[in-house]
């Protein structure tokens, strides 16, 4: 018996950490890449079984710091341990500053069929503010290289809501990005964790604070512009051409099982959500001495919580959640079980109920936390 699994590989290395970043990633640890990949291989081997892999996602960090050879080895290991679907979606995240046409051509040949480029902005001063290692021109070059290397499924990441970013500058970035006709766009409102260097700059009043109303205006501008260019808004922060929705990420939003390997990677398997240690040293040491596991968090997701999470994650998707699906999966009628919450959110114009689904409205997407917390148990 086999079940479908989405596989996430975390590559926690960067040439340079961005100013807004609070992900688990390390600069100047290139020497650790080889031992880390060995540890990854061992962790993968722990999981070998009957799983069928329907998608692979190399995230980071900056996975494009890996050499062609290292990626080849990793993919070979995965294929030797798991059954990977013929048509699996295999994504790699790449920093436009680290890729060449040759590199992209080779990794495309290895079977990687989706490229997610961290473009972030097409305004050079914004890129400096963010602490990116590339210019707008280099990002545009990277897209050209990707196309020439045979990538037909290209996603661009952009960030809005930057301190001081105007509507005009955001519109320019968007328009230039859309000219490149990516199949997919992820647009993220800048969110700074307390430990992000940019947060400290804001606190020191070196740069202005993020203005939530401007961010909201920028989001709505993006919604209109992308719709006009034929993109389907399918998740709060994601847009795609027909059929180009990211299959790997959709697994998360459908609250289906996934396996994550590497430092700080999360898995959701058999009613548990697990997280590996966030320490690179501890992770590598554990595998070097075969002292397992490296799991730092193991949370049991009871059915009530799973149902709540399924609703919350499902509402991130623009078509919303199918009342029938929830009923089949959890045996509850949302409209009955959450009568008060749904009623209130519909009254506020944040939620709508139509054709057997409940979904966020345009306004509701921007205020989705207000909707989501109401579905939590207790």
């Amino acid at each position: 018996m086999s079940c479908n699994l989405a596989l996430y590989i975390h590559v926690p290395f960067c040439r340079h950490k961005c100013h807004y970043c609070s992900f688990v990633s390390f600069e100047q640890r290139e020497a650790d890449i080889s031992p880390y990949l060995r540890a990854l291989g061992q962790e993968l081997a722990e999981h070998t079984g009957s799983e069928r892999i329907s998608s692979i996602y190399f995230g980071g960090g900056t996975p494009s710091v890996l050499t062609i050879r290292q990626i080849d080895d990793l993919l070979t290991t995965i294929k030797s341990l798991f059954t990977v679907d013929e048509a699996a979606e295999i994504t790699i995240e790449a920093n436009p500053g680290t890729v060449t046409r040759e590199y992209l051509t080779e990794i495309r040949k290895l079977g990687i069929n989706r490229l997610s480029l961290g473009m972030q902005s097409l305004n050079d001063s914004e890129l400096v503010l963010l602490g990116r290692i590339h210019t707008a021109a280099e990002a545009i070059d990277a897209v050209r290289s990707a196309r020439n290397s045979g990538f037909e499924n290209l996603s661009l990441d952009l960030i809005y809501g930057l301190p001081g970013q105007t509507m005009t500058s955001w519109r320019e970035t968007l328009e230039k990005a859309l000219e490149m006709e990516p199949e997919h766009c992820s647009l993220y409102a800048l969110t700074l964790e307390p430990e992000a260097p940019m947060r400290r700059e804001i606190e020191a009043k070196l740069i202005p604070d993020i203005d939530p109303d401007t961010s909201a205006d920028q989001y709505e501008l993006a919604e209109d512009l992308l719709a006009a260019h034929g993109y389907r808004h399918y998740e709060i922060s994601n847009w795609a051409k027909e059929g180009r929705e990211c299959r790997h990420n959709t697994v998360y939003w459908q609250n289906l099982p996934y396996l994550g390997v590497g430092v700080a990677a999360h898995s959701c398997l058999g009613g548990h959500r697990l997280a590996n240690t966030r320490s690179l040293d501890r992770y590598m040491a554990a595998f070097a001495s075969s002292v397992l596991p490296v799991v730092e968090m193991d949370e049991e997701i009871n059915p009530e919580l799973e149902c709540a999470e399924t609703i919350i994650l499902g509402l991130r998707l623009c078509p919303g959640i199918s009342l029938d699906n929830i009923h089949q999966r959890f045996g509850i009628d949302i409209l009955e079980h959450y009568r008060r919450q749904v009623g209130e959110m519909v009254d506020y114009g944040l939620l709508e109920h139509a054709d057997g689904h409940i979904r966020l409205t345009r306004r509701g997407r921007l205020l989705s936390n207000e909707v989501f917390w109401r579905f939590l148990p207790g």
Partner: protein, 606 residues
């Protein structure tokens, strides 16, 4: 013991002038407790306080003192509450003494409460021993303070002692002077019992413990007693004195200080100031006039969570067992639900009660803007006493309003006079008097020290007045006040509407010419502290239907987690859980969620 060998005294001082340090030193130097035991003693009573939720303090300590002729004296040191809110309690404590040690800080000189205390001591004909404390400190100026005591208080320099309570310097001499100068009690042991209750507290095991000074006769364990004012009959279940631990003994005789356990259930039945006598054929005249405690400041106290009302009720009932001056009446508020309108002696008393309710009973409270008791005569002739601003009639129905006034005394270096006068006049103070006290070297650059006397409505003192005095005088000014009676007033009720709903908790009574400024400040503060909601929220301040200030809180537009992938789900769910918890702590005004802090912030406005 022969009354001639007894001395009953208290220590009076402005706050932080060293009253408790001196008490500790007297306890140590008489060999009552060792220095290390004093520390433990305090720790222990705090532990007990926590465990039982009651205050066990060394309110009266018996010190056995052997003078240079090897004569043993019994000194009873009686503690006084150190704050003007409790001046009635202070006055009853003074009535139990023949003398007082007046402590003045050698670095600060005479302060407002020094004067208030000394006037009280004079009223009770106490022998006062002035001492200048903290002479070990580098900044101390005993000579200057001495001059001040001579010129302002009228004592001879030769009568003033110089001490350091901290090091013990001069304290042995002070003990000698206490014996020499303070007269012994002169009660009549053969007369029927008369004992003055100067404090009391509730004990779970023994009922109310009354602290008393026996003036005439004697009191023995098992005696049937009567409280003359209250009429209650009790049995002395236990008789004893404090070392500071309670020590039971067979009897207390005229001149002595100690306690009786009454078995009563509430301190309200055993009031400070009442006289205890023998139940049958007791005394006919009480010792001093008893006065029921008069609350001066009122506020509504509500639980943040309406479900906690029963716990709040129980907590207030329990506190009042130990606090006869706390009054409470149930009231309901359309916004805050069920709560109590409580009366307090003053702002400090209010603070203490609220803090104890929150700390000892784990309650989360919303406390309304503190106010006073108004006497209002309506045009219909109906007379009202109003402690809750929401009950204030509309202007057209009011014939006459009276409100309580106080006399305030502010002591400050002269350089701040201008600034302080401005604050006081803005607070509707009327000038009475200025008095020059003298010069301290440490504050020479700040000019002479001056005492300002004003009269003002108590209402104007209840928010930021004291904080303003302190900040405008860089902390130098000291303040004392005393109630002087009711006076005519011109006032209106200012209401605050949040999303068109009048929030009774924010209503306040103000002079008409201040309504606009106060309303504007309140609306602006609410705009700042109420988080943006899912809809636009207008905030308006109005007198009747006339809006005097308005602010709008724009609807919230963005509250979204931009990224939510596999590694984010648990953490982001926890953020949502936190958000949900936060919502539970909010108070609802209609559909508007208001954090508890908003109420506190609005309260803080002057």
């Amino acid at each position: 013991m022969d009354q001639l060998l007894i001395r009953n005294f208290c220590i009076i001082a402005h706050i932080d002038h060293g009253k408790s340090t001196l008490a500790d030193r007297l306890i140590e130097l008489t060999g009552t407790l060792r220095r290390d035991e004093i520390g433990e003693q305090m720790m222990d009573s705090m532990e007990l306080e926590r465990e039982r939720g009651i205050t066990i303090k060394a309110k009266a300590v018996r010190l056995d003192y052997k003078d240079s002729h090897n004569e043993i004296y019994r000194l009873n040191l009686i503690d006084t509450p150190g704050h003007v809110d409790f001046s009635y309690e202070v006055s009853r404590t003074l009535a139990a003494c023949e003398g007082a040690v007046l402590v003045i800080d050698a670095t600060q000189g005479i302060q407002a409460q020094t004067l208030a205390n000394i006037y009280l001591a004079m009223e009770h004909n106490l022998e006062v021993i002035p001492v200048i404390n903290k002479i070990d400190l580098p900044g101390s100026e005993p000579e200057r303070v001495l001059e001040e005591i001579e010129s302002v208080l009228g004592y001879k320099a030769s009568d003033v002692l110089l001490i350091s309570a901290k090091t013990g310097q001069g304290v042995p001499l002070l003990l000698e002077e206490i014996v020499r100068r303070i007269p012994p009690p002169r009660g009549d042991i053969s007369k029927p019992l008369r004992a003055l209750i100067f404090d009391s507290h509730y004990n779970d095991y023994k009922g109310v413990i009354a602290y008393l000074r026996v003036v005439d006769g004697r009191i023995a364990k098992g005696d049937h007693l009567r409280l003359m004012e209250h009429g209650t009959e009790i049995e002395a279940l236990e008789v004893g004195y404090f070392t500071p631990e309670p020590r039971p003994l067979a009897e207390l005789a005229a001149g002595e200080v100690g306690y009786i356990a009454t078995g009563l259930k509430s301190v309200g039945e055993c009031r400070v100031g009442d006289t205890v006598t023998i139940a049958s054929q007791g005394a006919t005249e009480p010792l001093i006039g008893y006065r029921p405690p008069k609350p001066m400041v009122y506020a509504g106290i509500y639980p943040t969570q309406m479900e906690e009302y029963p716990q709040l009720r129980e907590a207030i009932e329990k506190l009042s067992l130990n606090d006869a001056s706390l009054t409470y009446e149930p009231e309901t508020s359309p916004i805050l639900g069920y709560g109590f309108r409580c009366g307090f002696l003053g702002l400090l008393h209010l603070d203490i009660v609220c803090e104890r309710l929150e700390r000892e009973f784990s309650l989360s409270l919303v406390v309304t803007v503190p106010g006073v008791k108004f006497n209002v005569t309506k045009t219909s002739g109906q007379k009202l006493t109003i402690t809750n601003p929401t009950e204030f009639p509309v202007p057209t129905e009011i014939e006459k309003i009276e409100e309580p006034w106080v006399k305030i005394s502010v002591i400050t270096p002269s350089i701040f006079i201008g600034a302080l006068m401005e604050v006081i006049q803005k607070s509707e103070g009327t000038y009475k008097h200025t008095e020059y006290l003298g010069q301290l070297k440490s504050s020479e650059a700040l000019g002479q020290r001056v005492r300002l006397e004003y009269e003002m409505p108590l209402r104007s003192m209840l928010t930021t007045f004291y904080d303003q005095l302190k900040s405008r005088s860089r902390g130098y000014a000291s303040l004392d006040h005393e109630f002087i009676g009711y006076r005519d007033a011109k006032l209106v009720k200012l209401d605050v509407m949040v999303n068109d709903i009048t929030v009774d908790a924010f209503s306040r009574i103000v002079p008409p010419d201040k309504a606009h400024d106060v309303g504007k400040a309140m609306a602006a503060k609410l705009k700042e502290v109420i988080p943006r909601q899912l809809f636009k929220v207008p905030i308006q301040a109005a007198i009747g239907s006339r809006v005097v200030a308005r602010e709008d809180i724009a609807a919230k537009r963005k509250d979204v987690l931009a990224k939510c992938y596999g590694g984010d789900i648990t953490r982001k769910r926890k953020l949502l859980e936190k958000q949900k918890e936060g919502k539970k702590k909010m108070k609802n005004i209609g559909r508007v969620e208001v954090p508890k802090e908003a109420f506190l912030e609005v309260m803080k406005l002057g």
